[in-house]
């Protein structure tokens, strides 16, 4: 197919650094040089790196907020339906009981479960939202093929400039990364 001819030979080029400051400096320099398709890898979260790479704040918090609202609404609907509906709405009946003279929609009694379901749905949206936005599970990724990358979860910091960057040229990028004082620069095969 035609696409294969245009596909670059490597996924990107990876530079290894020994500490987080070098990585942040390198990311800033690369951004200033005009590279946009980059990623940093580190064993611990490095503050300032995400911004240095030029990304905007994630929408995850909004997703969690929506999850919380959904949880609250489901709890209200569930409890009002079960405790107050007695006429076959949509062909399904609730099971209203007279308990201690309380009205059927005894909303103070409904608070604990509303609270719990709000939290449950928020937790689900936080975790699955984070995993989903990250594109995980992704057991295969070309960066795993790079030499020495297994130390990304151990003690080394990496900067990878990807080949779908408009300014990407393997030799140029390798030379450029070399100027940032890395410990090592390796290509990332597909």
């Amino acid at each position: 197919m035609d696409h294969d001819d245009n596909k670059p030979a490597v996924f990107g080029v990876l530079a290894q650094f020994g500490d987080s400051d070098s990585l942040i400096k390198a990311a800033r320099t690369a951004r200033a040089a005009g590279y946009t398709r980059m990623d940093g890898h580190s064993p611990i979260p490095v503050h300032g790196l995400y911004e240095a790479l030029g990304y905007k704040r994630s929408i995850l918090a909004w997703i969690v907020g929506c999850g919380a609202i959904a949880g609250f609404c489901s709890a209200v609907v569930l409890q009002v339906f079960c405790s107050a509906i007695d006429g076959g709405a949509f062909g399904i009946d609730g099971y209203p009981l007279m308990v201690g003279g309380r009205p059927f929609i005894s909303w103070p009694s409904f608070i604990p479960i509303c609270f719990e379901l709000t939290i449950l749905f928020s937790a689900f949206s936080a975790v699955f939202g984070m995993i989903g936005l990250n594109g995980l599970p992704m057991p295969y990724h070309p960066t795993f093929n790079a030499e020495g990358f297994d130390r990304a979860t151990l003690d080394k910091y990496f900067l990878c400039i990807e080949s779908d960057d408009p300014h990407f040229d393997e030799a140029d990028v390798t030379a450029f990364l070399g100027t940032l004082h890395p410990e090592n620069v390796v290509p990332v095969p597909w």
């Binding site: 987080s20 400051d21 942040i24 990623d39 940093g40 890898h41 580190s42 064993p43 611990i44 979260p45 490095v46 503050h47 300032g48 790196l49 995400y50 790479l53 990304y55 994630s58 995850l60 969690v64 569930l78 079960c82 405790s83 399904i92 009946d93 609730g94 099971y95 009981l97 308990v99 201690g100 309380r102 005894s106 009694s109 409904f110 604990p112 479960i113 609270f115 719990e116 939290i119 449950l120 928020s122 937790a123 936080a126 975790v127 939202g129 984070m130 995993i131 936005l133 990250n134 995980l136 599970p137 992704m138 057991p139 295969y140 960066t143 990304a152 979860t153 151990l154 003690d155 990496f158």
Partner: protein, 470 residues
């Protein structure tokens, strides 16, 4: 220049706010990873003997649980000591005891995280795991105490053929939602925290099967900055929602008692008093586990005197709140002027179970006063022994609340005595074995201290900033 740096590093690690080091000794990211991460990879020969011994003993004790449940399912709840009026006995006592213990994990992980207490990092992982195991043990009791556990699905709002739905005004049902939510959120929180560590284990694994299993668990984590960004947001939000969750769950458990009209139960102090009691018991259990484990697995440089000191202080505060609760109960009994409330208090002091009440005061108030002393707080043995007293004391507290209020209620002709039968005790002790087995399995297969968090802590205390905008 290099030795100046080392001295500075030592200075900084030792003198972090003058309270003693959080990580002792010389470390770097790789050594931290190794100290914790090599434990799951120990071969059968290298696994310490205490692990084999401990797991075996715990496994044998766990068999008591299976035996007790089997006989219970076969013969029914009549084998327990329940009677009228004491229709709720060991099952609810043990349920509340285990759930209370579980709360420390979420408190350490979530609340201390929000309060930016860095010392939580070495204990957070094990205490989160402990929460899950404690909730698992706790859940057995409500499940099996219903008499017909195969109908336990009736507790959930599931469409059925007889057109019935649960009654949402009952705290017993709030409990179902609260404890289920708590269990689920704890699993999610624990698992989220594990992802980067399991990725590290995946990369360190040499053999195929561990690499595959850890690889599947790690979901392909590669430490990408984009992923870390969302991870940190998710973790902060989870901590933020777990904090009200932990307070609400034990409050709802306390409402099981507080919404009734039984003297000694019908009091508004129960929610905060139970939550403080949960923190108390939970921290005691975390220390009970961490102190020997840190020593045996040689990770004492991550679990230092400062951790013990801080945790003991939290226990002391929780203990004082619990003591206040006891005092207020006595005051309410007097001040209410109500003969049933007054009798309830007099019964605690001088009735047939007063040994339980005075043992409670000893274990929960008198002995933990030793924690005022810095020497006791930082002494491995003294602190551990105080924790055992607290664990026993918290069980006695639930015993006093449940049994002493029920056995002598409003109508003297209904008064009776209660004690657990051997099956009650067997199930309780069996759950302790179950809990220990789960802990041992966890220690053996997963990193028991959060590797990336310790690395972060090390990085924070040793980092020399020369970038302007931090």
């Amino acid at each position: 220049m290099a030795d100046l740096l080392e001295d500075e590093v030592f200075e900084r690690v030792v003198d972090v706010d003058g309270q003693g080091p959080l990580i002792e000794g010389q470390n770097d990211l790789a050594s931290i990873d190794h100290d914790i991460g090599h434990i799951p990879f120990m071969s059968l020969k290298n696994t310490p003997k205490f692990w084999y011994g401990g797991t075996f003993i715990a496994f044998c004790v766990m068999q008591l649980l299976f035996l007790a449940i089997t006989v219970l399912l076969w013969k029914g709840t009549g084998i327990w000591g329940l009677n009228v009026p004491v229709a709720w006995g060991f099952a609810i006592i043990n349920f509340v005891w285990w759930i209370g213990i579980g709360h420390a994990g979420t408190l350490i992980s979530a609340i201390l995280f929000l309060l930016k207490q860095d010392w939580r990092m070495s204990i957070a992982r094990f205490s989160e795991a402990m929460t899950l195991f404690a909730v698992a043990c706790a859940g057995l009791f409500p499940l099996f105490h219903v008499g017909r556990p195969w109908l336990a699905w009736w507790l959930f709002p599931i469409p059925n053929t007889f057109g019935m739905w649960p009654q949402f005004r009952s705290p017993l049902l709030w409990d179902v939602f609260a404890v289920s939510t708590y269990a689920t959120v704890s699993v999610l929180f624990w698992y989220t925290g594990l992802i980067p560590d399991v990725a590290s284990l995946r990369d360190r694994a040499n053999k195929k099967i561990p690499k595959f299993i850890y690889g599947v668990m790690a979901l392909g984590w590669r430490g990408s900055a984009r992923h870390w960004h969302r991870y940190e947001i998710a973790y902060l939000l989870l901590a933020g929602i777990s904090t009200p969750l932990v307070v609400s769950v034990h409050s709802i458990v306390s409402l099981d008692f507080a919404v009734s009209v039984v003297p000694g139960w019908h009091t508004t102090i129960f929610p905060p008093y139970f939550v403080a009691g949960a923190i108390y018991a939970g921290f005691a259990m975390v220390l009970t586990i961490m102190i020997p484990v840190a020593k045996l697995y040689k990770v004492e440089h991550f679990f230092t005197k400062r951790h013990m000191n801080n945790m003991s202080k939290v226990m002391l505060v929780a203990g004082l709140v619990v003591a206040y609760g006891y005092l207020m109960e006595v005051f309410f009994g007097y001040y209410s002027g109500n003969e049933y409330e007054r009798y309830m208090i007099m019964n605690r002091f001088s009735g047939p179970y007063n040994w339980g009440y005075w043992a409670l005061i000893l274990c929960n108030i008198a002995v933990p006063m030793a924690l005022w002393s810095y020497k006791v707080r930082t002494s491995v043995w003294a602190c551990w022994i105080v924790c055992q007293f607290i664990s026993v004391g918290m069980w006695l507290e639930r015993f006093v609340i449940v049994v002493m209020s029920l056995h002598r209620e409003f109508l003297p002709s209904s008064w009776d005595a209660y004690m657990g039968t051997k099956w009650d005790w067997m199930m309780y002790i069996g759950t302790m074995g179950f809990f220990c087995v789960l802990c041992f399995l966890f220690m053996r297969t997963l990193p028991m201290i959060a590797i990336f968090e310790i690395k972060e802590l090390h990085h924070k205390t040793n980092h020399h900033h020369d970038l302007d905008d931090h």
